[in-house]
């Protein structure tokens, strides 16, 4: 009885903290959406370091983020023992690689998001653009929740895999509604 009570309390605390994290993540997403909507789009370019245009840079940076997200998924599956045909436990470097690929993906996404929000703003003239805007805002909210959830004790064991999978799915959808559109409508490789 005592053991049950003891194990139940941390779990409840973990759930409450997870809900608070989800609320913070939702606030991040909504704040970005509101900013994009109320901010007057500048229509100006940002540095596109060697790429022929800002759009080309964004398409390739987003592709880089998507590839890193794939690496994240594979390394996470290995760490959780879910990688097909790999039976040995993940060595320590896999955890390090997971953290650093995640950090790199986040940093690569910043200039893309910055240009979307500051220069283009919220647009609702076609389905692709609306979806892309919603997914972009959702990504940073989900990323916030994942980062906070990593530090919560007592949450269900499915929490991190679900949050990580959600991030990979959202990033894939972002790539489909931006980079793939660019490569098929403007040109490939667009360099």
């Amino acid at each position: 009885m005592t053991a049950s009570t003891t194990s139940g309390a941390p779990a409840r605390r973990g759930t409450v903290k997870l809900l608070i994290s989800a609320a913070i993540g939702a606030a991040v997403s909504v704040a970005l959406g509101v900013y994009a909507n109320v901010h007057e789009p500048t229509g100006e370019q940002i540095l596109h370091g060697g790429f022929p245009s800002v759009l080309s840079m964004k398409a390739w940076l987003t592709t880089g983020v998507a590839v890193l997200a794939l690496a994240q998924a594979v390394s996470a599956m290995w760490m959780w023992g879910r990688l097909p045909r790999i039976t040995r436990p993940a060595p320590r470097w896999v955890a390090h690689a997971h953290r650093w690929t995640g950090t790199a993906a986040f940093l690569l996404s910043l200039p893309v998001a910055y240009h979307c929000l500051w220069s283009l703003g919220w647009r609702s003239t076609d389905v692709r653009v609306v979806l892309h805007g919603l997914l972009g805002c959702a990504f940073f909210g989900a990323f916030t929740v994942k980062m906070l959830a990593l530090r919560i004790e007592g949450v269900s064991k499915w929490t991190l895999p679900v949050l990580g999978s959600a991030l990979v799915v959202v990033l894939t959808a972002i790539w489909l509604t931006s980079s793939l559109w660019f490569f098929t409508n403007v040109g490939f490789p667009g360099l």
Partner: protein, 129 residues
């Protein structure tokens, strides 16, 4: 929930703060940007040339031109744009930032719907009379 500042968390936090700060920046003062040259004057007897300037992702429509007139499309934005007729009557191709492209207006009067092939949400009408 102890938020330990591991190197990766610290890097992400710094990146987020920098990006957030940059989002608060106002647009660059347009007055400091070089003006786009006006279209060349046409000799007498020929249709009057018309200039269209794309600015802030806007074609500045509506526009009316004479049949066969030169239409100079200047791009004052920082992104490449196109001015592409939906019925294929004209297409500037990619007009890079700060440059201009001239095409002949259609010889058949009418209202021509056009859009930017790179940013399909940019649309407009060219009235040819």
């Amino acid at each position: 929930m102890a938020l330990r500042f591991t190197p990766t968390v610290a890097i992400c936090a710094v990146g987020a703060v920098v990006a957030g700060g940059l989002l608060a920046l106002p647009p660059v003062d347009k007055a400091t940007q070089p003006p786009i040259p006006a279209p060349p004057a046409q000799p007498g007897g020929t249709p009057t040339a018309v200039a269209i300037t794309i600015e802030n992702f806007d074609f500045g429509q509506p526009r009316t031109v004479s049949t066969g007139a030169d239409v100079q499309v200047s791009n004052a934005d920082a992104e490449a744009h196109t001015m592409t007729a939906r019925n294929g009557a004209f297409d500037t191709g990619s007009v890079d930032e700060g440059t201009s492209v001239t095409f002949k207006a259609p010889s058949v009067p009418g209202t021509y719907e056009f859009y930017c092939d790179i940013h399909p949400s940019m649309t407009g009408q060219l009235v040819v009379d």
